[in-house]
Symmetry: C2
Subunit: 133 residues, 2 copies
C-alpha cells in the first residue's frame, strides 16, 4: 500500500508551471511538521503527475536519467501534504511527511554540512572609521 491518500489535480496548474529547457523544475522538499528543508531535487511533468497520483514524491534523476520514486528501495518515502509554487512559477515547495531519513548518507536532511563561514563582528569604532574614510 503506497499511500492512504490520493491526489487529484486541476490540470490547469501543471500547464501553468514553467519547466526549464530540459523540461525540469526544482522541487524543495520540506518536512511539514518541523519545516526542516530536507532536500532539493528535480521533477519533470511526468514525475510531477506520478507524485500527484501516488501521493509520494517522484523525481527525475538527472545523473541516472530515470524516474525515481523517493524511498522505493530504501523505504524512506515522502508522503505529500501540500505543494506550493513560487511567484515565477518555476520552482516548487513540497511539504511532506518523511519516513526515516531524506539523505542517502543517513542524515535526516541532505543539507547537513555548513559552509565554514565566520562572522566578524564589526565594532562601532570600526563603523565610525569606515564612515569617515
Amino acid at each position: 500500500m503506497v499511500s492512504a491518500a490520493q491526489l487529484s489535480l486541476s490540470k490547469m496548474n501543471i500547464r501553468d508551471l514553467k519547466f526549464d529547457e530540459k523540461g525540469l523544475i526544482p522541487a524543495i522538499i520540506q518536512d511539514y511538521k518541523t519545516a526542516e528543508v530536507l532536500m532539493l531535487a528535480y521533477m519533470n511533468k511526468k514525475s510531477l503527475e506520478i507524485t500527484l497520483k501516488s501521493g509520494l514524491t517522484c523525481f527525475w534523476s538527472r545523473s541516472r536519467r530515470e524516474y525515481w520514486v523517493k524511498g522505493a528501495t530504501s523505504g524512506n518515502i515522502q508522503s505529500v501534504k501540500a505543494i506550493y509554487y513560487d511567484c515565477d512559477k518555476d520552482a516548487l515547495l513540497i511539504r511532506v511527511h518523511q519516513r526515516g531519513v531524506a539523505c542517502h548518507t543517513g542524515n535526516r536532511s541532505c543539507f547537513y554540512r555548513r559552509l565554514k563561514v565566520r562572522f566578524k563582528r564589526v565594532s562601532s569604532r570600526q563603523k565610525r572609521i569606515r564612515k569617515i574614510s
Copy 2:
C-alpha cells in the same frame, strides 16, 4: 551601512561546490527564525563571493543577466546567518534574517500559492478491497 557582520570563508568550500553548465547553483532561502522557505534563486561563484563578503544575499538574475543584491532597491535585504550545502554539493540552503518581505508581489514568501490538489481519503473498506483485488 550594508551589514554589521562580515563573513570570511575557507575558500576550499566554494571550490568544492558544483556549479552547473551555466555556472549556477540553486540557493534555497529560509527564514532563520521561523524556518519558512522564502524563495529559490541562483548564484554563481562571484555572487556567492559577494554574499560572503557583504553578509547580504546576492544572486545572478537569469532573466536580466545581471548581479542582483536582494533588497538593493526595495530595502528588503536578507542578512545571512548560515549557509549549508547538500550531499551532492550542488544546492545551497541559506538561512537569513529577512527585512520586510522576500517576494516582489508583497508576500513574505514567493511560495504563497498552493497547487489545487485535493486529498481523497481512502477508507479502510476501500483499502481492504484493494488488498483483495
